[in-house]
């Protein structure tokens, strides 16, 4: 039967649609099957972000750089905040690089489902890719701004130790917690558009509660554990530790950070999976 069109034999792919479905089933096989879509969505997010801008991808560097400079001038020079044995500009920029990734990923992921509402209500594909691609797109920007951090280190004659190999490891809690929180917020945003406003406020608040402009050491000891429940504390402290190559490893905050990030991710995945089937009804 030599025909030009080859049709998959029936039964090769069988899907059952029913009212109830268990939210614990993440459907890895389906995610894997559609993996190229994740690539395309991420690629689109990056491509579109800098279309019709003069500076293009330079913005990925400029944004954290501008904030770090402002912090260096006002907080480093004028208020003379301590900076844990690092030159304040390096201290601020290293924190800002990671923070910029986190805030962009969180904001992007939170708004992603509503922003892609048009597609979601018309085509079926794994919805999980929508917030995930927003996080991945921010990760690309992060890698670019990381290069500038290397220039900083050279300029201030800071020789990283072997610890720098662990640097990517501390990005992980930031990725996991931005994705986890992003899953929660993006799914809630479908039903409650209040989330959009909450996120703006949340990101500002979160910034102040993270040791970007000041070191963790200024936080009173008795508040430390509470403070370190913020997963970004361990991420930023660990990130700087790897960069500085000296000092004690912030084991407590890193452990808490990983724990909270994983918790956020698991609960986020669960909630997202539980409500994703209703997205099209509410968007």
């Amino acid at each position: 039967m030599p025909t030009a069109q080859s049709i998959q034999p029936a039964g090769q792919q069988k899907v059952t649609i029913r009212a109830t479905d268990t939210a614990w089933n993440l459907q890895w096989d389906e995610l894997w099957q559609h993996r190229e879509l994740l690539y395309f969505l991420t690629w689109r997010d990056i491509k579109v972000r800098y279309k019709q801008t003069v500076l293009g991808v330079t913005w990925a560097i400029l944004q954290p750089l501008a904030v770090a400079l402002a912090l260096a001038v006002f907080l480093g020079r004028m208020i003379r905040l301590p900076s844990d044995n690092l030159p304040y500009p390096v201290f601020a920029y290293s924190g800002m690089v990671l923070w910029q990734f986190f805030s962009q990923a969180l904001t992007g992921a939170s708004n992603s489902v509503v922003a892609n509402g048009q597609i979601i209500s018309k085509v079926y594909f794994p919805r999980l890719f929508v917030p995930l691609s927003a996080v991945l797109a921010s990760l690309i920007d992060f890698v670019i701004s990381l290069l500038v951090l290397a220039f900083f280190l050279v300029y201030f004659h800071i020789l990283p130790s072997a610890n720098v190999a662990f640097l990517p490891l501390f990005v992980l809690p930031a990725v996991l917690s931005s994705l986890g929180a992003g899953l929660w917020l993006s799914a809630l945003n479908v039903k409650f558009r209040d989330v959009h406003h909450i996120v703006n406020f949340l990101v500002q608040f979160w910034f102040l509660a993270t040791p970007i402009a000041y070191p963790t050491s200024v936080v009173p000891e008795r508040w430390r554990v509470l403070y370190e429940l913020n997963p970004m504390v361990g991420a930023v402290d660990g990130f700087r530790w790897a960069l500085r190559g000296a000092g004690t490893f912030p084991s407590q905050s890193v452990a808490l950070s990983v724990f909270i990030a994983v918790t956020l991710l698991i609960t986020g995945l669960y909630y997202f999976r539980r409500v994703e089937d209703t997205f099209a009804d509410f968007i």
């Binding site: 034999p9 029936a10 090769q12 069988k14 059952t16 190229e36 048009q118 018309k122 085509v123 039903k191």
Partner: protein, 440 residues
């Protein structure tokens, strides 16, 4: 493999599918806080004995109810019905965009759904980039898109603009490219929703041809449409939905003709008596809408030779606002035949108003028409404050007419106007030519 194709095998099998929607304001107990606490409690809820099910809310409605359907491989099923009859909901459930509230469906094979052309097109990206993005969203692999790329471009006739951002595309080009990508999906089951109602006539034909070709290759197609001709021509079977239930089922020609006869003329005259519950809002409510011949009895049938009146009676509740009505008339192919607007600049007083327009004889072609009505605030084109789709449906029959001459088939065209043709002699032929002619 041979046996499975001989026995046909079900491509789609639905059992008692239903979909319930909530309309109107959200129930007050659905706050952000409760949603979060509900989710946290959900895993433990199974431990608690199930109650008699959720209480019935008055603001619920079933978009689809108790639908069972079996579709064998290679069948092309047409789904017809008025707007809001459940066609789109059925397609959304089968394409897994939304979950049914009850029942289940089984689908065998790769599904491609085309509920909207160009879903996911991004205006900032070029045509080339969008082909890949849209293809990926529709479920195509990168290699598959690359392999079909030239074919898609050729089908869309857009090779010159491949590297232009799509925001600069004309709407026709946009649709052509969108459809071209979708038409090249390699799937076993294709779900189509009214996508052909767009685009120019030539391209529509090309798309229909492509779908026919697809059907010929043994694909299973489910095709929701207002276009009775397309359903008749393309489908091997048809169902008609009404208020979420299947009311007619069988051969396409018999379903479409029974649909046109039985379900449509009921809306030649709609009346809402109660000012409290009539459709509308606190500015305007609809009392009555009807189509009737300008002369003779209201119930008389309309022909292409009958001038007729389209009449709306509304309660105008907002005294100091100017409301203008806009009516749009569609034919059975889903084509908008014309839009007409009430351009009255004066502000009518509050009260029950009758607003009408006359359609002259020898303008409309024969066929089935639907009229939708919009209400615009402060002049046509401004804010739409109320909108009623498919408010009226009526039929205009053919009539003996000197316009037709000796031609007895269906007169083509969206309209059939009686236009004045004129013949004038500008100058007689020169004598020499006239001689030659007469010799022949």
């Amino acid at each position: 493999m041979q046996t499975s194709s001989e026995s046909g095998g079900h491509a789609i099998c639905c059992e008692g599918i239903g979909k319930r929607y909530r309309i109107g304001p959200r129930s007050p107990n659905s706050s952000l806080r409760e949603t979060i606490s509900d989710t946290i409690r959900a895993p433990f809820r199974r431990l608690v004995a199930h109650g008699p099910g959720p209480a019935i809310d008055e603001r619920e409605f079933w978009a689809l109810r108790d639908l069972s359907l079996e579709l064998r491989r290679g069948e092309v099923l047409g789904v017809i019905g008025r707007n809001g009859s459940g066609k789109s909901t059925l397609l959304k459930i089968l394409s897994r965009i939304t979950k049914p509230t009850e029942g289940q469906a089984e689908i065998r094979g790769r599904v491609g759904s085309l509920l909207e052309v160009g879903a996911g097109f991004h205006p900032e990206l070029t045509g080339r980039e969008n082909i890949f993005l849209n293809g990926a969203i529709l479920g195509m692999a990168r290699l598959e898109i690359a392999r079909k790329f030239d074919e898609i471009v050729e089908f869309a006739e857009c090779s010159r603009f491949l590297d232009t951002p799509m925001k600069h595309y004309s709407s026709g080009m946009y649709l052509r490219l969108a459809f071209a990508v979708a038409a090249h999906l390699e799937v076993d089951i294709l779900l189509l929703d009214e996508v052909l109602a767009v685009g120019d006539a030539v391209f529509q034909k090309k798309c229909l041809g492509k779908i026919e070709e697809t059907a010929g290759n043994g694909r299973t197609i489910l095709f929701a449409s207002h276009d009775m001709l397309a359903v008749d021509n393309l489908c091997t079977r048809a169902i008609c939905l009404h208020e979420g239930r299947v009311v007619l089922e069988g051969a396409p020609a018999s379903v479409t003709s029974r649909y046109l006869e039985k379900w449509l003329p009921a809306f030649k005259d709609v009346v809402y008596d109660d000012i409290e519950t009539a459709p509308g809002n606190d500015m305007i409510r609809l009392h009555r809408a009807r189509v009737r011949p300008l002369h003779g009895l209201p119930a008389d049938e309309l022909t292409v030779r009958t001038p007729f009146l389209v009449e709306f009676e509304c309660w105008k509740l907002a005294a100091r606002t100017r409301l203008n009505l806009v009516a749009e008339v569609f034919n059975e192919h889903g084509v908008s035949v014309f839009v007409t607007a009430d351009k009255d600049e004066a502000t009518a007083p509050a009260g029950l108003l009758r607003i009408s327009f006359t359609v002259p004889a020898d303008l409309m072609n024969n066929g089935t028409y639907r009229i939708g009505l919009f209400v615009c605030l402060n002049g046509v084109g401004a804010d739409i404050v109320a909108e009623w789709e498919d408010l009226l449906t009526f039929e205009i029959r053919d009539a003996a007419s000197e316009l037709r001459g000796a031609y007895h088939g269906q007169w083509p065209g969206a309209v059939r106007p009686d236009l004045n043709w004129k013949t004038e002699l500008l100058e007689p032929l020169p004598a020499s030519v006239a001689m030659d002619q007469s010799l022949k």
